[in-house]
């Protein structure tokens, strides 16, 4: 039994808080009718996921999660909401009446099945570590083992930039 007033106990308390932030933010993101609220929930949820990454011994990925998701992806979606404002008067009417229970059922079934699978499986014992997963090791792997993938992802990002510029330009009038 860990006491609450030790470093481990406080870390456990912070972990519970981070889990609550993650789940609560995700629920806000999917249940909001107004899109700005949904995007705020998504940002909150990603802050929580970054905290979970920190607890998984990878502070570098946690920082990248904050930078890329909270800083870039969410802001980009906010810009898209600004450009394509859906005028929130008729937002009340949802899908057909059967839609929400079916969606909830499918989501709950997937969660139940996946969580049960993860908990009931006897995972093999951890193998011997060949590295400790530090930032230095990540950098070494990125330029040696995963060098080809690293180059390819930069190509994918370049194509995405060009493609999104072309797509967003296409419907604009020539004036």
């Amino acid at each position: 039994m860990i006491s609450l007033f030790t470093a481990e106990g406080l870390a456990g308390l912070v972990f519970l808080f981070i889990v609550a932030v993650t789940i609560g933010g995700a629920l806000i993101a999917v249940n909001s009718i107004r899109l700005p609220r949904a995007i705020t929930g998504l940002a909150i949820s990603f802050v929580g996921v970054a905290g979970l990454y920190y607890f998984l011994n990878s502070p570098f990925v946690a920082v990248m999660e904050m930078l890329i998701y909270v800083g870039a992806v969410c802001v980009t979606i906010v810009f898209a909401i600004m450009l394509a404002d859906p005028g929130d008067e008729q937002r009340v009417g949802r899908r057909s009446a059967i839609g929400a229970p079916v969606a909830f059922g499918v989501g709950a079934l997937l969660f139940w099945g996946l969580a049960l699978l993860g908990i009931n499986t006897m995972w093999p014992a951890a193998a011997a570590r060949v590295s400790d997963g530090s930032v230095k090791d990540i950098g070494h792997s990125l330029v040696t083992t995963y060098g080809m993938v690293f180059e390819l992802i930069s190509l994918v990002l370049l194509l995405a930039i060009i493609g999104s510029l072309v797509l967003a330009r296409a419907g604009r009038s020539k004036s």
């Binding site: 519970l16 999917v30 998504l42 949820s45 990925v61 890329i68 909830f104 969580a115 995405a160 419907g171």
Partner: protein
């Protein structure tokens, strides 16, 4: 095993990842607008990344593998978000709406 020791258990992370995935699928079916569905797909990707990170922390011999895979998932997700948002803006120009019920030009 006390409730304050949960951050060192693999199954807890798997359950959280499964919950994020389930919430994402629920939102994908429940949300009506295209941007809402994009937000839900980001949640699904977050659940998948969390699974990779948990296995790489607890079971893998080389913990860098999962972290690098998660970084690549982030890169692909950023590209996907950029493309999807420009498609949404193009759709909005044509239909003056991002509601999935209104974008029915191919309906027979």
């Amino acid at each position: 095993m006390s409730i304050l020791n949960l951050s060192n258990i693999l199954e807890i992370y798997l359950a959280i990842a499964a919950l994020l995935f389930g919430i994402g699928v629920y939102g994908m079916l429940y949300q009506r607008t295209l941007i809402g569905m994009l937000i839900s797909s980001e949640l699904i990707l977050a659940g998948a990344s969390l699974n990779f990170m948990a296995f790489s922390r607890f079971l893998a011999p080389d913990p860098t593998t999962g972290q690098i895979f998660t970084l690549f998932i982030m890169g692909v997700a950023a590209a996907e978000a950029a493309i999807a948002l420009s498609i949404i803006i193009a759709v909005y120009r044509n239909y003056k709406s991002i509601d999935t019920e209104d974008v029915a030009g191919l309906q027979g």
